[in-house]
């Protein structure tokens, strides 16, 4: 998962200072040295890093912090605040035109993911916003760019407007607008060719298309793995043609994703979506505050809950919640839960959204093996109902029987029982936090971090 490396680094640093009852300027300096290092290693632009370090340092050595009873925690909070600032505030939705059609232009460097994202965006607009999009193939330069968009269009059954490679992109855009009018499309998404921000001729072409179509959104598509140059690219595109938002792609990788922070700071344009894979459903709205929480190890409970809502059977969930609260959660429920969770997506991704998940040994490099789940299921199926209700009664001889019955080993049975215990504990912690969170009306998981 992207950002993970940065998260680890920052958390180690933060943990050192959190518990301190007394701190001085040297402590802050030492911490900020490490923060600087962590941010640079994460590809955050150096200038942005410098500004960040300056702001945090200044706030941290202020009297109110130093004199407070929990200065360590105060400093950590400042880091979190400023990091959230860098990321931008609330989630920023797509701007639709008052009068149809809404026009969206996709721009960016070569290979950033414009064409793929065009398809993904159309999927979101159709499924979540009930729109009838038209895709426009305005890349006449890259070999087979038009075929690529047409193939995607077929996959998601959204029409693609193309005129081959002999017409200019501006002309294609003009005709596409007419087509949209004729066919009553309420959204037009224009896929443009990748280009260098220093290529004046091709940047002029984008300006011309922008002028002609008067888009409601101009999305700069940026590869999340981009290094220091991200700010130059973003700034050039913004200065020359004016962008309205950013879409960050390839966040399903293991990049530390510093470009995300830099671009926001430099352009002050919101990151609206993130690409999480190559498939057409892998586009998610970007929630800056949740991402900041995730980076600082506070988990992303909101996303977890939303994912659950999308995939989990309501009644079963209610029933489960009840069981969790009353602590009458059994291995049978665990089994049931596992089957539900499987529907939510890759297990390792889900686990990582939990607060404190980063503290679970081995989870950091856990490539949760889904076939392993099959073995776990086998173990539970080999238990008697009584054993599933009451795992405490499982003694050595029962373990042996279960192992033989499921074709596993007693070690595996032991491991499962232990995991089950841990999971119960974690779930308990989570429900506690959620309740507290509601009461105080803020992000759940917050408290756990400042404990």
């Amino acid at each position: 998962m992207a950002f993970e490396g940065l998260a680890e680094r920052l958390q180690v640093t933060m943990n050192k200072i959190t518990g301190k009852g007394k701190i001085n300027e040297a402590d802050v300096k030492e911490m900020m040295r490490e923060v600087r290092f962590a941010l640079i290693e994460a590809d955050v632009n150096l200038k942005v890093v410098k500004q960040f370090v300056k702001t945090v340092s200044e706030r941290s050595v202020g009297q109110d912090v130093m004199k407070s009873l929990t200065p360590g925690q105060q400093v950590v909070k400042i880091v979190k605040d400023e990091l959230t600032n860098l990321m931008g505030g609330e989630q920023n939705p797509i701007q639709f035109a008052r009068k149809s059609p809404t026009v969206i232009m996709m721009v960016g460097l070569q290979g950033a993911g414009k064409t793929t994202t065009t398809g993904k965006l159309a999927t979101v607009l159709r499924k979540k916003h009930n729109k009838k999009p038209l895709l426009v193939a305005a890349d006449i330069y890259r070999p087979a760019a038009i075929q690529q968009l047409e193939t995607l269009g077929k996959q998601i059954t959204v029409p693609v407007f193309s005129m081959g490679t002999d017409q200019s992109p501006v002309e294609i855009a003009r005709k596409a607008m007419e087509e949209a009018e004729r066919e009553h499309h309420d959204v037009v998404i224009i896929d443009t060719a990748g280009r260098l921000h220093v290529d004046e001729e091709l940047m002029q072409e984008l300006k011309d298309i922008r002028e002609l179509t008067n888009p409601d959104e101009v999305f700069l598509v940026v590869d999340a793995m981009t290094g220091q140059d991200a700010v130059n690219v973003a700034k050039s595109f913004d200065d020359t043609i004016g962008i309205t938002g950013v879409i960050l792609t390839k966040l399903d990788g293991d990049t530390r994703g510093g470009a995300a922070l830099s671009i926001r700071t430099v352009t002050e344009k919101p990151i609206k979506f993130v690409g999480m894979g190559e498939k057409m459903d892998a586009l998610e709205p970007f929630h800056p505050e949740r991402m900041a929480s995730r980076i600082l190890g506070m988990g992303d409970v909101m996303s977890l809950i939303e994912k659950a809502q999308e995939n989990v059977d309501e009644d079963k969930a209610k029933e489960l919640e009840q069981k969790l609260r009353t602590q009458s959660f059994t291995l049978d429920d665990f089994l049931d839960q596992m089957q539900q969770v499987k529907k939510m997506g890759p297990l390792d991704e889900i686990l990582k959204m939990m607060p404190g998940a980063n503290k679970i040994k081995g989870l950091d490099n856990a490539k949760v093996d889904e076939s392993q789940m099959g073995r776990v299921e086998a173990v539970i199926y080999s238990m008697t109902l009584a054993e599933r209700e009451n795992p405490e009664i499982i003694n050595a001889s029962r373990k042996k029987r279960i192992a033989t019955g499921s074709g596993t080993s007693t070690q595996e049975v032991n491991r499962l029982l232990k995991q089950f215990e841990e999971m119960k504990k974690m779930v308990k912690q989570m429900t506690n936090m959620q309740q507290k969170g509601k009461k105080k009306g803020r992000m759940p998981g917050f408290d756990a971090f400042f404990k």
């Binding site: 590809d43 290094g227 390839k250």
Partner: protein
């Protein structure tokens, strides 16, 4: 002979046009980098801690990476002390020298492709999404053909929309046969067929395209390993080259890419693409410093001729071309005086 003169001789000794092309591609890089180095040298007349701090920042902004930058700075400090250097004159050449030294500290190998006559040579192109694998294959096919070799391409990316069509266009441009199957078929099967076809037709070089994949995707990396294995099973010692395409705009993640792809497929060389942008491509130094993988080619544009062999000295020359002029005229001191 001074270091810069050596490089200059070396460059004028080789094909002028190539050197120019290389320089052109790096012009923006050079401008933004050297002007800053100049600025640094002008502003700091003495080599002190602050000078090094700013130099450090400059290199970090070129994506060289923390560890390599620290190493370089240490090297420079040592040198400055040893030679008892007090003012910043000549620092540019010292910096370049050390950059090249860091690059060359690995095994002294060439950037030549491992291609032998009288056998079928197989090149496997790998890398993450959108870095320029397919385009590089097209350019490379053109190069090899120009050298008089017969070339065949294998459309091993059966996943991404339009990937096969894209390679087919490059096949048409270069007049090279492309072995392909339908979208969605097993890549290992496509490659297997291609090797068979290449053998039958007695071609010199078969270049295999693969789908872009992020290095943390276990399944996809396993798939790549299988493709690699299939080639090795058909021809002993193949693939003769596994080229990893890296995008010059990529930051520190490129190092992890190099590490992981190397573990899975034994990467033999790197192609650094998109160096015609403003990205500094400094990660090359870090990769060379940590892994023993040489950069074999650089991509300098989207056109068929925009692929050039990598040469560390030319690369640094590209970065510091202004330094060269300066050392030749050698009136830096005078200029600074005048400036005041």
């Amino acid at each position: 002979m001074s270091f810069f003169k050596k490089i200059k001789d070396k460059i004028s000794g080789t094909n002028e046009a190539v050197a120019e092309k290389f320089k052109d591609g790096l012009t923006k890089t050079r401008d933004s980098f050297t002007s800053k180095v100049n600025d640094l040298v002008f502003r700091f007349r003495v080599v002190d801690e602050e000078f090094f701090e700013e130099l450090e920042e400059l290199l970090l902004q070129a994506d060289v990476g923390f560890e390599t930058v620290m190493e370089l700075i240490d090297l420079l400090k040592e040198e400055v002390q040893r030679k008892n250097i007090k003012n910043t004159t000549g620092m540019q050449s010292l910096i370049s020298e050390k950059l090249v030294e860091i690059y060359n500290s690995g095994e002294a190998d060439t950037n030549e492709l491992n291609i032998e006559e009288g056998r079928l040579n197989v090149i496997l192109m790998v890398g993450v999404n959108g870095v320029g694998k397919t385009t590089t294959i097209g350019k490379m096919a053109a190069r090899l053909k120009k050298e008089g070799k017969t070339v065949m391409l294998a459309a091993g990316d059966t996943f991404r929309a339009g990937a096969i069509d894209q390679l087919v266009v490059w096949g048409e441009r270069t007049g090279v046969v492309v072995v392909r199957q339908a979208e969605g078929s097993d890549p290992a099967a496509v490659i297997f067929d291609a090797v068979k076809a290449a053998k039958k037709r007695n071609v010199d070089v078969l270049i295999c395209d693969t789908a872009g994949r992020l290095q943390n995707k276990v399944n996809l990396m396993n798939e790549l390993e299988k493709v690699h294995r299939v080639i090795g099973r058909e021809i002993e010692g193949a693939p003769h080259e596994v080229l990893l395409a890296l995008d010059a705009t990529t930051g520190q993640n490129a190092l992890i890419q190099a590490q992981t792809f190397n573990e899975v497929t034994n990467v033999t060389g790197i192609v650094l693409t998109k160096l015609d942008g403003t990205a500094k491509g400094g990660i090359v130094l870090a990769i060379r410093n940590k892994l023993d993988i040489p950069v074999k080619f650089v991509g300098l544009g989207e056109g068929i001729d925009d692929l050039q062999p990598f040469d560390p000295e030319k690369y640094v020359y590209g970065l510091f071309a202004n330094g060269l002029e300066m050392e030749e005229t050698d009136d830096h001191e005078a200029e600074t005086e005048e400036d005041k």
